[in-house]
């Protein structure tokens, strides 16, 4: 399993082999960091991910495959519930967040999605629920990988992340919206995210509100090139 390999491999060797340093180092770092407190480790993982989040720009399918293999190696499916194996939380979290980042940057017909989907859907059924601290990242990439004709309902009702995570997640969904809109429609679960977020009282951070409005603008067919230059972070709308 990749997660075991990650534990055993030398970081430099692994990075060279995969020809992609940020994601490899990320995965390695989260598996090798030793702290005694589980919740603190998870928090550290989140911060590491968020720091690296902006550095990850991937179109090469290899990192996506690494992530999905890493993820599949540390989860189990039981009664349509996907659970992370004890002790593998950080790898699962890192892999799922990175996978979402990668998938958000490509269109639905790309080789990255195709290759990842084949691996993923061979193990994970369409209608599942996820547990754990990275649940919503998992939900998001799951929605990107399953057959779009399958309606897979889930609710954002319990989604209450910290401000930093919220901002990053919303930012990624703008990218999802943009890339999916180019090839058809903005996924309804992304619009549901906007509806949920904009319904909050008090409202979420300004950047999240801006990203939710951008998602709506994209779905309405507005000229997103002008959105890109002002309201959105440029990295989100990669024209």
């Amino acid at each position: 399993m990749i997660s075991e390999q990650l534990e055993q491999m030398n970081a430099d060797t692994f990075a060279t082999q995969l020809k992609h340093e940020p994601i490899t180092i990320l995965l390695l770092s989260v598996t090798r960091t030793e702290t005694t407190d589980q919740s603190r480790r998870l928090r550290d993982t989140r911060h590491q991910l968020l720091d690296l989040w902006d550095q990850i720009h991937l179109t090469d399918p290899t990192p996506a495959v690494i992530c999905v293999d890493a993820l599949l190696g540390c989860i189990k499916v039981n009664d349509d519930r996907v659970m992370v194996r004890p002790g593998s939380e950080r790898v699962a979290g890192a892999a799922s967040v990175c996978l979402l980042r990668i998938l958000s940057g490509v269109g639905p017909g790309s080789g990255v999605v195709g290759g990842t989907r084949r691996r993923y859907t061979g193990v994970i059924p369409c209608r599942v629920d996820f547990e754990g601290p990275f649940r919503y990242s998992m939900i998001a990439f799951h929605a990107l990988l399953i057959d779009s004709r399958e309606r897979w309902p889930f609710e954002w009702m319990d989604y209450e992340p910290c401000a930093q995570e919220y901002a990053s997640f919303a930012n990624t969904l703008v990218q999802v919206a943009y890339n999916r809109r180019r090839y058809g429609k903005v996924p309804r679960w992304v619009l549901r995210f906007s509806l949920h977020s904009l319904s909050q009282d008090p409202p979420p951070p300004d950047s999240v509100v801006a990203d939710c409005l951008s998602i709506i603008a994209i779905d309405l067919g507005c000229d997103v090139s002008s959105v890109k230059s002002v309201a959105l972070d440029e990295r989100c709308v990669d024209t």
Binding site: R188, L195, L198, D201
Partner: protein, 291 residues
């Protein structure tokens, strides 16, 4: 910037065809809460634009489905809006927000809220707390009749909410509540309230040159007129009803070209016949009383 783009896009959509608007209903619904919060901050423009869009959508839907019941899929707002609506109608919610949701209530997909009966109670309670205007009255009556059209929702309408009918707000030519509001089930429900003022107001509201009454409701109305509006004490109620029927028949006599957007030639012909029958029933009852 995104906000400016959305605002501009929504304004141009008012003129768009039904399919174009319908395809974007999820995005428009997702934008809805933002427009609400802006209204709370004193900015009405966004919400007004959305209401214009709703109005345009309803008019176009009505054109397409004239004489046919609207399917749930053609309802405008996305059913996902339910939790927000419940939040806005909460007792602690400020009046301007309640006001806004009451104004939006005719466009909500009530049939999709069958699992949230409490929403109807909240809606009824909220309506009673906002200051009355004709727009508010119109929205409450429109939504009330839509809710009443669903057998699983109708029993959950708070009894006091029916009294909104007595305010007799002027309903617009295109009104889904009135369009759906003449079924046998609703006629029976209103009658069961045992309040002659509510019953008369209901009839005055749903008898209209803009909508063809449901056939099944007409049979019920025939019996209703004879049983409820007979007797000497009912004379002025019968006169009110006759005046309304005369007005509606007079408008129908002008022909469909004067009823735009409204019923087509065949529907006008049927409506004249049906309203004419109701008028005969009333005159018949009136004559029996006089004799």
């Amino acid at each position: 910037m995104a906000l400016t783009l959305i605002s501009r896009e929504l304004k141009t959509m008012v003129e768009a065809d039904e399919d174009s608007i319908h395809q974007k209903r999820k995005a428009i619904t997702a934008f809805f809460p933002y427009a609400f919060w802006r209204k709370r901050d004193g900015q009405h423009e966004l919400l007004d634009t959305i209401f214009h869009l709703f109005g345009a959508m309803v008019i176009q839907m009505r054109h397409e489905t004239l004489g046919l019941p609207l399917s749930d899929g053609r309802m405008f707002m996305w059913r996902r809006i339910g939790p927000l609506v419940a939040t806005l109608l909460n007792e602690e919610s400020p009046i301007p927000l309640k006001q806004a949701i009451i104004l939006a209530s005719p466009y909500l997909p009530w049939k999709n809220f069958t699992n949230n009966k409490n929403l109807i109670r909240l809606w009824g309670a909220a309506a009673s707390t906002v200051p009355y205007t004709n727009d508010i009255g119109r929205s409450v009556v429109d939504a009330l009749l839509q809710i009443a059209d669903d057998p699983s929702l109708q029993p959950h309408i708070p009894a006091g909410t029916w009294s909104w009918l007595t305010k007799q707000p002027s309903l617009p030519p295109i009104c889904l509540g009135r369009f759906r509001g003449s079924t046998e089930s609703i006629v029976r429900a209103v009658r069961a309230l045992g309040d002659i003022e509510i019953l008369k107001s209901y009839l005055l509201l749903i008898w209209s040159e803009w909508d063809e009454p449901r056939w099944i409701g007409l049979y019920e109305m025939d019996a209703l007129l004879r049983e409820e509006f007979g007797g000497t004490g009912m004379g002025y109620h019968r006169q009110d009803l006759l005046r309304r029927l005369d007005y509606v028949l007079g408008r129908l006599d002008l022909g469909p070209e004067h009823l735009h957007p409204g019923p087509d030639t065949r529907a006008v012909w049927r409506m004249k016949e049906e309203y004419g029958k109701l008028r005969e029933v009333l005159l018949d009852v009136d004559g029996e009383v006089t004799i």
